[in-house]
């Protein structure tokens, strides 16, 4: 008599077995996140690609017009200027963020009094809303009352006020500087985490072998930091490339489109100008660049596994 009861316990009813199976449960647990992401992320991504092939405007559904939007953009000098600006902005801001961020990380990795305080304070620019800190930069860059101009004048370095946002070259340099200011903390703190995982014994061994400080950095720190640099910089490049807020606050793309990024041009044409189709086409044109960045990150991760001695 005992045997069947054991069998019953081992094989509960179909329903409860189904409810406890990994796949059903997994599906149920995934449902809320998957539903939200599919509806508000995957679908709009597809819709955006579709909109790029239509002449949709605000308040009027569009019809399929093939690659007309792209043909128009191909011959649009403002679009190409925005591509150039985006690449320039991303490359120069990322390089500066990397160099200065790594430097700050190396400093913070030294033995310092109040280390955790410095670590916390350094993160501030990254924590506060970008728009609000950009407004502060707007005031710092004011054409008449710029504190920077005033300070440089007092020091006797310049003889007239700098037109930070009114001149194309100055405007580009100014928005890049503001972006670097905001991005340094993220790079510094993530690289600091990487630095702290490097064992001190490696440095001691290298020093005994007669390595100079530069050689220590070049042959111990840098190789061991490469994987985390790859990931951090991918994120940094991705967010710089798709930046919108800073430009929108500081210049709105001006003067004469000199600081228009693809994201701000897409907003200007799509939302402010009402040409949803064209705006979507500009946004879609950003995707190849983003894919390149993601692939870069993927291979960065691969290399990391290989370095740790694991398989692919």
């Amino acid at each position: 008599m005992a045997v069947p009861s054991v069998a019953v316990q081992r094989h509960p009813s179909m329903l409860s077995r189904l409810a406890e199976s990994r796949n059903t449960l997994g599906l149920g647990f995934m449902l809320p996140a998957a539903a939200l992401l599919l509806v508000f992320l995957t679908y709009p991504l597809g819709l955006g690609v579709w909109l790029g092939f239509t002449d949709t405007r605000i308040g009027r559904p569009g019809i399929y017009i093939g690659v007309e939007n792209y043909e128009y953009l191909w011959s649009d000098s403002v679009f190409w200027l925005s591509v150039f600006n985006t690449v320039l902005y991303t490359v120069s801001a990322s390089i500066l963020k990397f160099v200065l961020g790594l430097w700050l990380a190396l400093i913070l990795n030294e033995k310092l009094p109040f280390k955790s305080f410095f670590r916390a304070v350094v993160l501030l620019p990254w924590v506060v809303p970008t728009v609000l800190s950009a407004i502060a930069f707007w005031w710092i860059y004011d054409s008449q009352f710029s504190i920077l101009s005033w300070a440089l004048q007092q020091m006797g370095l310049i003889d007239h006020r700098i037109n930070f946002l009114g001149d194309p070259t100055n405007a580009r340099a100014s928005v890049i500087a503001a972006n670097v200011w905001r991005g340094i903390p993220f790079v510094a703190i993530t690289l600091l985490a990487g630095l702290q995982t490097i064992p001190q014994s490696l440095y001691e061994a290298a020093t005994l072998d007669g390595a100079s400080r530069w050689q220590l950095f070049r042959h111990v720190t840098l190789p061991l930091l490469t994987p985390i640099i790859a990931i951090t910089m991918t994120f940094s490049v991705l967010f710089t490339f798709t930046d919108f807020q800073l430009i929108y606050v500081l210049t709105r793309g001006g003067p004469v489109n000199a600081t228009h990024l693809m994201a701000t041009l897409s907003f200007q044409r799509g939302i402010a100008g009402g040409q949803l189709g064209e705006g979507a086409a500009i946004a879609v044109a950003m995707i190849p660049f983003l894919l390149a960045a993601i692939l870069f990150s993927y291979f960065g991760l691969q290399r990391r596994r290989w370095q740790q001695g694991g398989g692919d």
Binding site: R22, L25, G26, F29, M30, L31, A33, L36, L37, L41, P44, L45, L47, G48, L51, L100, W103, E110, K111, R119, A120, V121, V122, L123, V127, P129, V131, L132, S133, I135, A136, F137, W139, F145, I147, I189, A193, G194, Q196, T197, Q200, Y203, E204, T232, L238, F239, T242, F244, Q245, M262, A263, S266, F267, G270, I271, L276, G279, A283, V284, M286
Partner: protein, 297 residues
């Protein structure tokens, strides 16, 4: 947590070769650059604060007053901001929207992270990768199609437009962070509970969640900060002045004519930054460790 412990351990047995450096050398290579970094990184905040309490006379008169200091501090700008603009309303909107989006995303992310990391259903790895890829999709390429959707769904100019779209960048992030956290909880605890007859739901609510409170806190702070700082969706989906969030309201409503109210603008920027700074300063250790932990994973 493993990350924190590891870092602490390295900190304590660091010893290192610091003693080989002389003090003058350290001043030049460490303290001086650090000072410059701190001044550059913190100056905009100082400038924001000093402008917010500076009377208009002093603000534009660089000849008689040193712009780096304020002679007669005033609360006029802050009074104007809080009593004569819609600023308090924007603050309230931002709090409501950020809180709702954070809780929605956290709930969805906890379930998803637990399923991917612990239930290990078939295809869990691929789903985990898909979640990571979703995090890499930037709002800048989604806002146009989303604005069409939001309009067609009748959500345009309502807080729900933001509460439902913010999870698109919050869920991937929180899920990724929590997956790393759940991984650090020993399997044995769950196995014991399973043998004692607990259901998966009981394991999640009674064992895994209480053990991952620090992870939940940091994911929550991250999510709240990200929603608080969000700009492009709030700019695109909200039209009426009284429904705006702080970043959008300050930029679009306080900048009215050619004469900028710099004092009020700076006060608005400062007060709008305070909540996230306060929140963050309470939990800075969680914040830093989980940020670095999430990257290390």
């Amino acid at each position: 947590m493993a990350a924190i412990r590891e870092v602490e351990r390295l900190d304590t047995d660091e010893g290192g070769m610091g003693y080989l450096q002389s003090l003058p050398r350290r001043v030049v290579t460490v303290y001086l650059p650090l000072l410059v970094f701190l001044i550059v990184l913190l100056f905009p905040f100082y400038w924001m604060t000093i402008t917010a309490v500076k009377p208009n006379v002093e603000m534009t008169d660089y000849v008689n007053y040193n712009p780096f200091w304020v002679v007669h501090p005033t609360l006029e700008h802050i009074r104007y901001l809080l009593l004569e603009t819609s600023y308090p309303g924007w603050l309230l909107n931002t709090v409501i929207i950020s809180t709702a989006a954070t809780f929605l995303s956290l709930a969805a992310a906890v379930l998803a992270a637990y399923a991917i990391e612990r239930l290990r259903f078939s295809g869990a790895r691929q789903v985990g990768l898909a979640v990571f890829l979703a995090y890499l999709v930037p709002p800048s390429i989604l806002f146009i199609p989303l604005s069409v959707m939001v309009f067609n769904l009748g959500l345009y100019d309502t807080p729900f437009a933001l509460i439902l779209t913010y999870p698109t960048f919050l869920i991937p992030f929180c899920t990724w962070l929590l997956m790393g956290y759940f991984r650090s909880i020993p399997f044995e605890l769950e196995e014991c509970a399973l043998i004692d007859g607990a259901t998966r739901w009981q394991i999640l609510t009674k064992i895994v969640l209480p053990l991952s409170v620090p992870g939940l806190i940091s994911a929550g702070i991250f999510a709240f900060t990200l929603s608080w700082n969000e700009f492009i969706y709030a700019l695109t989906f909200i039209q009426s002045s009284e429904k705006k969030t702080v970043p959008v309201g300050v930029l679009t409503e306080l900048v009215r004519s050619d004469v900028y109210e710099w004092g009020a603008l700076m006060a608005g920027a400062l007060i709008g930054s305070l909540p996230v700074v306060v929140l963050y300063s309470f939990f800075v250790e969680y914040y830093v460790s989980s940020m670095t932990g999430a990257v290390k994973e």
